[in-house]
């Protein structure tokens, strides 16, 4: 497999516009992107509560150029807006997270969640249907039993492929605060869900109860100083999970130690640099995403300005730190005013854990090669991404003379933000969500 560095700059693009007619509908803003375990399916959730699943086309000799194109496979409405009458609060239908379950049979399963309710969806294909029923006609009308003179055995006939999504489980009423994360455990039987103050452990088959395994709600809410921002199960050790906080710390917990994992097994925190303190130091240190590496040896955290890679065996500082957009440090006050400082960027590993990717503003996204320490900034935009076009590296000019092709910090469009990205688990294929557009890039075929 080509290294990321070798592939940098030679990427072909394909744009999938989820809202062809209404490009500015806020309901179409993509809120989560996730590949399944094989990478053949790519799920997106949006602000309107819809889930759209793309499937990769199989390679075929007849259409060599369509190798690896993703086309719409299934679309369904996962969550609807709800109203909590007791608290006079509207519950948004926005899909916060989608997580796939490992495939165990022909059907695919995924978990999708909004602020309050998690749903398990089964996506299955139907390409045959039974014909020749005795008691009803082909169009479904019931036949008069007295008119039936002979019996026949229904036969399965092929039909046009139909993809059906049905909700199999609904896990509700377990979270007082807004759910920010779900994570499927490596035992494939349980999963965890995290809100601002609590983490619950569920069994996939049981919807009427869950175990509360972390509770950081203080007895006196006036003493609240931090909230949970993300949580994830370890990819191999089913007893281990981590959760990050708004204070920039990560706690690793072992479920074998106690039923309530309020006491962490490991505590990861980097001491703050006192020289960079400002009004907004606390906000920018808040961790917006935490992801284990595929190997399970490392984990990555995203705060507002940087991405940090931690070795699980070393708690006092990260082993690698990558600056995503350090040029924004002097603009924090403006970013606070326009609320951009609260944007929650996600991050992701590539399949071999040799590279990491995260988003930025102006539809830029960044990739870092951990081995060569090289990084690249790319842009996801229609103008620059005709199908099969090669992406050109971008550069932000931080001061002094602006070179040709560079863009100055003040020209960045802060409304165009890339919060959600995903990397194919095995290949160099990436999915980048830019507001209501989904971009899929892959290595150029030689």
């Amino acid at each position: 497999m080509m290294s990321v560095t070798g592939a940098i700059g030679r990427r072909v693009g394909a744009v999938l516009d989820l809202a062809a007619l209404n490009t500015h509908q806020s309901a179409d803003i993509i809120s989560t992107v996730e590949f399944n375990y094989s990478g053949d399916l790519l799920a997106t959730g949006d602000k309107g509560g819809r889930v759209v699943i793309f499937q990769r086309e199989q390679e075929s000799k007849n259409r060599p150029l369509s190798r690896g194109e993703y086309n719409v496979y299934s679309t369904f409405q996962s969550h609807e807006p709800e109203f909590d009458y007791l608290k006079s609060l509207e519950i948004e239908e926005k899909i916060n997270k989608i997580r796939w379950l490992p495939q165990q049979n022909a059907a695919h399963f995924l978990l999708s969640t909004n602020d309050k309710t998690i749903k398990l969806w089964k996506i299955s294909e139907r390409d045959k249907r039974a014909e020749g029923y005795n008691l009803k006609d082909e169009d479904g009308r019931l036949r008069d039993p007295f008119r039936i003179t002979s019996l026949r055995v229904p036969v399965l006939m092929p039909m046009d492929l139909m993809v059906e999504a049905s909700p199999r489980r609904i896990f509700a009423n377990a979270h007082t605060y807004h759910i920010n994360s779900i994570s499927v455990n490596s035992d494939h039987e349980t999963y965890l869900s995290a809100d601002d103050l609590r983490i619950n452990l569920w069994h996939l088959e049981i919807t009427d109860r869950s175990f509360n395994i972390v509770d950081i709600k203080p007895a006196n809410m006036e003493e609240l100083t931090e909230v949970i921002t993300a949580a994830e199960c370890h990819p191999h050790q089913c007893n281990v999970f981590v959760y990050s906080s708004s204070k920039g710390t990560i706690r690793l917990c072992d479920m074998r130690a106690a039923a309530l994992c309020d006491r962490h097994s490991k505590f990861f925190e980097e001491p703050e640099d006192p020289s960079s303190r400002s009004f907004f130091s606390e906000i920018i240190s808040s961790i917006s995403d935490v992801k284990f590496s595929h190997s399970g040896r490392y984990m990555m955290t995203r705060d507002y300005l940087s991405v940090k890679v931690w070795d699980l065996n070393m708690e006092n500082r990260p082993v690698e730190t990558y600056q995503v957009h350090e040029y924004l440090r002097s603009k924090l006050c403006s970013l606070y005013e326009n609320d951009c400082i609260f944007d929650k960027f996600e991050c992701c590993w590539n399949g071999s854990d040799s590279a990491i990717m995260t988003g930025s503003y102006n539809n830029f996204f960044r990739m870092f090669d951990r081995n060569t320490r090289r990084d690249i900034t790319l842009e996801a935009s229609r103008e620059n991404s005709k199908p099969r076009a090669i992406l050109k590296p971008r550069k932000v000019c931080t001061g002094g003379k602006r070179k040709k092709d560079e863009i100055s910090v003040d020209s960045l469009d802060f409304n165009k933000k890339i919060l959600h990205t995903a990397w194919h688990p095995k290949e160099n294929v990436i999915a980048v969500a830019a507001t209501n557009n989904l971009y899929i890039f892959q290595d150029k075929i030689n």
């Binding site: 608290k87 609060l89 006036e222 100083t225 808040s286 006050c333 609260f342």
Partner: protein
């Protein structure tokens, strides 16, 4: 002095965010409001350390001084306020537009029960914002009366949270017909005429509200934390936001003025 202006500006922006978070779809976001309150506290500390002409007080010393100042104000204004709060006006806070964009809220708010009905029931207990078209004099009355009913004459910085809670309790005990009122622009001009006095009141109220880390946003949580089924949290968050906001109406005036 530049720091003071910057800190003041950040405080105003932060308060605006907290205010707007109430009307956002999906309910109050705990994480964002926590971060905003942290910024608010940092800005307040800078502002206060600068407030005394650059002399470096510790936060607690500053708080106790401000508290005494506020005591004096309250004692001065108590008789006037006890004659009756300013005319009852309906809450306009539930409307989506921020304070600054609603200069006509006062005339429209009169007798407008639907607007009040949109609010959570607790807001009906909120004391009136205290501003009225009569001008700066009543402004002050309202301003003092707002923080008023809790004084049992127990000064001291460490009793700040207690006093604030006392204020809330007595507000709840007050006539349920009271409602907050959105500050209309005529009052902002009235407030601007006396910026110095308003500022003192503002800052001391801010201290009252943000005396402890999160008391400004979430009220005392009476429900036992153990039960899984508790669902009063977001609700109490909303209630206390209202409490805080009605206490800060002069702030909104200040924001409009800025």
């Amino acid at each position: 002095m530049e720091y003071k202006v910057e800190a003041h500006r950040i405080m105003s922006i932060s308060l605006g965010k907290i205010y707007n978070s109430r009307v956002q779809r999906g309910g109050i976001k705990l994480h964002k409001n926590l971060l905003v309150s942290l910024v608010l506290r940092s800005a307040r500390q800078v502002y206060l350390s600068d407030y005394y002409g650059g002399v470096c007080f510790s936060a607690q010393q500053v708080e106790s001084k401000e508290w005494e100042l506020m005591d004096a104000e309250q004692n001065k204004l108590r008789p006037a306020a006890e004659e009756g709060p300013a005319p009852q006006k309906d809450a306009g806070l539930g409307d989506a537009t921020p304070v600054a964009d609603e200069p006509t809220s006062q005339p429209q708010a009169d007798g407008e029960s639907p607007a009040g009905a949109q609010q959570p029931p607790a807001e009906a207990d909120a004391e009136t914002g205290g501003t009225s078209p009569a001008g700066p004099a009543e402004d002050q009355t309202g301003g003092g009366g707002r923080a008023l009913p809790d004084e049992a004459g127990t000064p001291g910085a460490h009793s700040c949270p207690t006093r604030k809670r006392g204020a809330e309790k007595s507000h709840h005990a007050c006539s349920p017909q009271k409602r907050t009122k959105v500050t209309p622009t005529p009052d902002s001009s009235g407030a601007a005429e006396e910026p110095e006095e308003m500022e003192t009141g503002n800052v001391s109220n801010l201290i009252t509200i943000f005396g402890s880390s999160f008391s400004g946003l979430l009220s005392k949580d009476d429900t036992p934390p153990a039960s899984e089924g508790e669902d009063g949290d977001s609700g109490s968050g909303q209630i206390c936001c209202d409490q805080m906001l009605k206490n800060l109406n002069p702030w909104t005036t200040a924001i409009v003025a800025f």
